[in-house]
Amino acid sequence: MDLSIAALLAQDGITNGAIYALLALAIVLVFTVTRVIWIPSGEFLSYGTLTLAGLQLGKAPGTVGLLVALAIVAGLVETASSWRQGALARLPRRLLFWVGVPLLIALVLARAAPLQWPFPVQVLLTLAAVTAMGPLQYRIVYQPLADASVLVLLIVSVAVHFVLTGLGLWFFGAEGSRTPAFSDASLQAGAVVFSAQSLFVVLASLLLIGVLYLLFGATLYGKALRATAINRIGARLVGISPSFAGTLTFALAALLCAFSGVLIGPITTVYYDSGFLISLKGFVGAIIGGLVSYPLAAAGAILVGLLESFSSFWASAFKEVIVFTLIIPVLLWRSLATRHHEEDE
């Protein structure tokens, strides 16, 4: 292996790592606010790419059907819970939010597809559609389980992953899709060529990491959101409803994943079931960051990307074996570190 190959592998690893990092951020975000280990984050990424690819082809993407289905279920859940709480007066407003908004987005998406609107508009539409699914998922699946243990939430997350993969095959089909590159330009630095696309991916990730870090580390509102994870009653006392925090968080996280889907589309082919492995790798990153630190999570994700890239060069057949075997000591380290932490508190 010479230096130029190493540089190319590093570039590849960092680009993929940047995508994993975005997922890692979404995972950390969701975990810190709701304690949910968000395995299905990967499905949101693939939905992002596949929605955009559908729009590109001028076909109504499967997302339309998904949104409609989710909106109907959310409407039922909301009606049932309002009925039980005897708060039917609030129901119309809630239905407007949980059913009306997603249906509106689905309608626009279905109508817009054949019109072949300009690319940036298509991207915005995609982001809107996939983002809308985040809060819907929270409302239907996780909100009723807000008091469950992390372990129960994890099992539920795996179940959600199953459901979304099955629905993904139904709505998007077995074959994959790509989207056109934002730019074909490339930068020459010595012997190594950087594609504008990968630079864009890395820069976008860095930017988002910074924004999230500031948002949650420095603003009062961000800190308050984090507090809901630790103390739900306390959060309610200071005026943050945990369900509102959850809704907001899932919207943000879904947006992050949808955005990574848009970013990854031109780099690789995405399938309905691409998400699982990508989210697991994002997870490893998130866990290296102890599921709380954004910069560490991002660094961890980049590390996974590099590891993967170099092991696919050295021993491609055993690439995943290497990556997943190396996770175990990391998990052990984190687990022991966390335990120590708890003891001191």
Binding site: L9, N16, A174, E175, I264, T268, Y271, E308, S312, F313
Partner: protein, 383 residues
């Protein structure tokens, strides 16, 4: 959406009301991989079966189609179900080699003929007595691999790099191409593997390019075949790129786009039937099948895998009438007669001409493969 629900409810009522009953009708049981990793092969097969006529030789046919999700346990369960519940006269399937191999013992025990739609020659290995009841319609991988090796030799290729799926499909192609290449005096200088939904194959591609092969073969199926090819083009690989017939569907062309221009692959003739000379007997059969298929699923939707399902049907259309003269469907005698008849069948299919013998339960020859080149999203026959 609403219509579909009502239709579905009506269909459900039908299913509940009319459970299949055993009769003198023919029963063909199908298990294929319409979901799971092999879905892109299984789906056209399933669509083809759904197009097939409801009668044969004056007998009504019960088609029972089950999905095995590319999983061996499921394939075996399905086969047992088709045999014991539905009393199938013949089993068609499955799509992938491991599933078909796992089914061999089941059909041998139940003495039911089976027509596999998977490629490996191991499924019909004549030295294994258990394969007595098993036939196979796709071209042996070795036949296709030989075609590639011959074409490479003509193009002056001396060294070859291989990148393929990290699964049974990729493994099988790797071992076949190594054998074919050795016969043609071509050296395999690099072997790499990747996963269907890998986000990046940069590492593998860099290693391939570093080995500087004259040509590279990609052993993959469906759209994932485009991932290494696009990466090779992006890394300015200048040699020839070969694919296998696994990728031949319109989605691959859509995803790969202009990057795949010039790619060569061996394939069953049906994909380019328009370009075959009229003298080729396959042309008429392929035309019949492809027009029917594309009338339903859209122009360009053809795939050689759907053709395998159709070829299984072609075998049955020849063999069933022979067997009917000896016994009634639904009896062990009929199944034995059907097996014997299949072993004697000579028929023209969409992917080739079958000449079955006790030693060869595939019976295809060189007419079962052509080399095509991808040009601007079209399959062009290389003469």
């Amino acid at each position: 959406m609403k219509h579909r629900i009502w239709q579905a409810l009506a269909a459900f009522a039908l299913v509940c009301g009319f459970a299949p009953t055993a009769s003198a009708d023919l029963t063909f049981g199908v298990t294929l991989s319409a979901t799971g990793p092999a879905a892109s092969l299984g789906i056209p097969e399933k669509r083809t079966i759904e197009l097939l006529p409801p009668t044969l030789g004056g007998q009504k046919i019960h088609w029972i189609i089950l999905d095995d999700g590319s999983d061996t346990t499921r394939a075996v369960t399905n086969t047992r179900k088709l045999i014991t519940e539905d009393h199938a006269d013949a089993i068609i399937g499955s799509t992938v080699t491991p599933n078909s191999l796992a089914m061999v013992d089941v059909v041998a025990d139940a003495k039911t003929p089976m027509i596999s739609m998977a490629a490996s020659a191991r499924i019909i290995d004549p030295t294994n007595p258990r394969t007595h009841w098993v036939f196979k319609v796709p071209q042996n991988d070795s036949l296709m691999a030989d075609a590639i090796a011959i074409n490479m030799k003509q193009n002056g290729v001396r060294t070859l790099g291989y990148i393929g799926f990290n699964d049974a499909y990729g493994d099988s192609w790797l071992s076949e191409i190594k054998r074919s290449a050795a016969t043609a005096g071509i050296k395999v200088v690099a072997e790499e593997k990747y996963n269907r939904n890998d986000a990046s194959v940069t590492g593998q591609v860099l290693k391939l390019i570093a080995a500087q092969p004259d040509a590279i073969l990609i052993g993959a199926s469906g759209t994932p075949g485009a991932t290494p090819e696009k990466e090779l083009v992006a890394r300015h690989y200048k040699g020839k790129i070969y694919q296998t017939h696994g990728i031949a569907n319109p989605d691959f062309l859509r995803v790969c786009g202009a990057d795949c221009n010039g790619t060569l692959l061996p394939i069953g003739p049906l994909v380019v039937w328009e370009q075959l000379p009229d003298s080729n007997p396959i042309k008429a059969v392929a035309k019949q099948y492809v027009s029917e298929y594309e009338a339903k699923y859209g122009p360009g939707s053809r795939s050689s895998f759907g053709g395998h399902a159709y070829d299984a049907w072609m075998l049955l259309t020849k063999a069933v009438p022979v067997a009917l003269q000896k016994a009634q469907p639904g009896t062990p005698e009929f199944r034995a007669a059907l097996r014997d008849a299949l072993e004697q069948t000579t028929v023209v299919g969409t992917n080739g001409v079958f000449t079955m013998t006790p030693q060869d339960h595939n019976g295809m020859d060189n007419r079962a493969r052509v080399i095509v080149k991808i040009e601007n999203g079209k399959w062009i026959l290389v003469k």
